[in-house]
């Protein structure tokens, strides 16, 4: 059992969860719960939304207002929730396929609107639940059930995508840094008052990705992420060649004076009522 304040955020009757032994997604859920517990947000005021896939099972385990939506659509649902009740704290979890393939359009537009939602992209480079098909973040050359001869599609850099689309908080960590995940999540949740926060948490799927790519044990993946993570400050001093295959972690965007969408909508209401 986790510490008491974290345990209180769990629907313990559904534990142990559905994810494979050693799954990186469990590390992320744990970090999200520690962040919410540390911020002491009443759980009645917390909304956890998700789409479809392994990541999407998370809300079922969290004792809050939880919203398991359709594939790729979680941010669009969450946009409605947020507009209807701007006081809620919304953590929207999605996978790499969920968030950047089928839900890619909702993702970039949520960034553009700068709506107060914390979007956690649990990037395990694969469609895990359906059996290991290639996703927009499956590295070139990696094997997947739909890329049996190696993936040829270039990948998305989710953080750059978010930054380019206008997210006002963008950060990345890997599950090999659980405490960093937690710290970034706390900042990203607090950022909701200022706008859309994207946290890419690089996870792994040893079952579907690892099996086909010589990283079949959880620890192989954990070590891979640990060994290839480079802090942003250090990465800034490295060449593109040196950064090849590395995962840059840290905070990329944090606009302190950003104006959140529902607050801007309040101005629309004021203008409409004055007219």
């Amino acid at each position: 059992m986790p510490r008491e304040d974290v345990k209180k955020l769990l629907r313990t009757k559904f534990m142990p969860h559905i994810w494979c032994p050693g799954c990186g997604h469990g590390i992320i859920m744990h970090a999200i719960l520690r962040a919410i517990a540390d911020l002491k947000i009443p759980k009645e005021q917390v909304c956890i939304s998700s789409g479809i896939g392994c990541s999407s099972r998370m809300p079922g385990y969290i004792d809050a207002c939880t919203l398991h939506t359709a594939h790729g659509r979680s941010l669009a649902f969450a946009t409605g929730v947020r507009l209807a009740n701007p006081d809620l704290t919304i953590v929207n979890v999605m996978g790499d396929g969920d968030g950047t393939a089928i839900g890619g359009n909702h993702f970039i537009h949520a960034c553009r609107r700068n709506i107060g939602i914390t979007a956690v992209v649990m990037n395990n480079n694969i469609y895990g639940m359906t059996g290991g098909q290639a996703s927009p973040t499956t590295p070139e050359g990696a094997f997947a059930s739909t890329a049996p001869y190696g993936a040829i599609d270039p990948t998305f850099d989710i953080c750059k995508l978010a930054e380019g689309a206008g997210a006002t908080f963008v950060a990345r960590a890997t599950v090999a840094q659980p405490v960093m995940c937690e710290q970034i999540l706390k900042k990203a949740i607090l950022h909701q008052k200022k706008g859309f926060a994207v946290v890419e948490l690089v996870s792994y799927c040893h079952t579907q990705f690892g099996r086909k790519n010589k990283r079949s044990r959880p620890m192989d993946n954990f070590n891979y992420l640990k060994d290839n993570s480079v802090m942003k400050a250090k990465a800034d001093t490295m060449t593109a060649e040196e950064l090849k295959g590395k995962i840059v972690i840290g905070e990329f965007v944090n606009i302190e004076d950003a104006r959140e969408y529902t607050k801007r909508y309040d101005e629309v209401i004021a203008r409409a009522q004055k007219a």
């Binding site: 079922g60 939880t66 939506t69 359709a70 659509r73 649902f77 537009h109 203008r271 409409a272």
Partner: protein
């Protein structure tokens, strides 16, 4: 003094929604329904409501469902391709039991089809567009006044039964302008969803009352609950138990079916002594009525039956009519959709004549008169 306006159907539909208490609209521009969202963009913020133009049609319905879960009466609207795109999430609202009104201003299809021309070819899509079993409620207005009033009714049904309700308007009704007398607030019924009365720890989110409808909490109300598109049990959590699956799957249909007679709405004209009956709805019914009124002057015993609720279909009423008339003529702007329901209800008791127009135009009264004369 009653407020009298000269409005377009789409505007009346949106204003009816606002009068019903709608405070959220999520949508995406598409002809011929765009004026609904434009009206919402103007009206909702005046009332403290929220309007959001989403990045696509799916986003529009998703945001509306999200807002409904967070407690606002919500709506989306579209036409043709947009309605097709919304089908998956329409199903989500059926299974998760989220009140929602979806306006469909019908245009010609399939696909991009005829963006600016009228059609009634979405009648069966309204019933079966999303996958899986569910009970459909869909109303088709035929005047500007009715656009307003039927949308109020659609919201009332959505809130009462906790599910999506469709308003099946069409391009003619949506873009036509005519007189409307705005009903005074308080002179019509407005239904709000049932809220739970138990304390949050005792809340069983999908445990239905005697009417088969569970009370609904809003996110942020102090209740914690799980919403999912998976088939769930009374506690709102996914289930693979056959008895729990059956309970949910049958209840979401039964909750509507058992109140069928309260949902069904129709209008009759000149039916007392009719030997020939035109069954038509939406814009076509306007041509039908003109034809009938003309022929009545010539002592042709023809009447009109107009289903306002296309779903549930007023089959009992049609069955009764079939016992006393010789001919039922069903003119539709499609290849024959509602006529199948008519034939089913008639069950061979009288002749049913299919009349179908697929050229993007509206039936003219003369054409309907000719149909009547063929059998008179």
């Amino acid at each position: 003094m009653a407020q009298v306006e000269f409005w377009q159907g789409n505007k009346a539909l949106a204003m009816g929604a606002v009068a019903a208490g709608c405070r959220f609209f999520g949508g995406y521009p598409i002809t011929p329904s765009t004026e609904i969202m434009e009206t919402m963009a103007e009206e909702l913020p005046r009332l403290g409501g929220k309007f959001v133009q989403m990045e696509d049609e799916i986003g529009g319905i998703a945001a509306a469902i999200g807002a409904s879960i967070a407690g606002l009466k919500s709506m989306t609207g579209s036409s043709g391709p947009g309605i097709s795109l919304k089908q998956e999430l329409l199903g989500y609202a059926y299974i998760a039991e989220i009140p929602l009104v979806v306006a469909n201003v019908m245009r010609g299809g399939p696909s991009t089809g005829l963006p600016t021309k009228v059609s009634q070819a979405d009648v069966m899509q309204a019933k079966w567009g999303t996958h899986g079993d569910h009970a459909t409620i869909a109303y088709a207005p035929s005047s500007i006044q009715e656009c307003y009033e039927i949308t109020v009714r659609a919201f009332n049904m959505a809130e009462r039964f906790r599910q999506p309700v469709l308003v099946l308007s069409d391009e003619i009704i949506g873009h036509m302008r005519e007189k409307i007398v705005i009903p005074e607030p308080g002179t019509f019924e407005v239904i709000n969803r049932k809220k739970p009365t138990v304390c949050p720890d005792d809340f069983v989110p999908y445990k239905a009352d005697d009417d088969d409808v569970p009370p609904m909490a809003a996110f942020g109300d102090g209740y914690r609950w799980h919403v999912t598109g998976l088939t769930s049990n009374d506690f709102g959590f996914p289930t693979n138990e056959a008895n729990e699956i059956d309970k949910k799957a049958t209840r979401i249909i039964r909750k509507v079916e058992r109140f069928r007679e309260e949902i069904v709405e129709f209008k009759e004209e000149s039916m007392e002594d009719a030997e020939i009956v035109i069954v038509s709805y939406g814009s076509v019914s306007r041509s039908s009525l003109r034809a009938i009124r003309e022929l009545r002057k010539q002592n042709v015993k023809v009447g009109h039956f107009r289903p306002i609720s296309l779903w549930p279909f007023p089959e009992k009423q049609i069955a009764e009519i079939s016992k006393r008339v010789k001919h039922i003529i069903v003119p539709e702007l499609n290849a024959g959709q509602m006529v199948n329901e008519v034939e089913r209800a008639v069950a061979g008791r009288c002749e049913v004549h299919r009349k179908n127009l697929l050229n993007g135009e509206l039936y003219k009264p003369d054409e309907i008169m000719a149909f009547i004369k063929e059998v008179a």
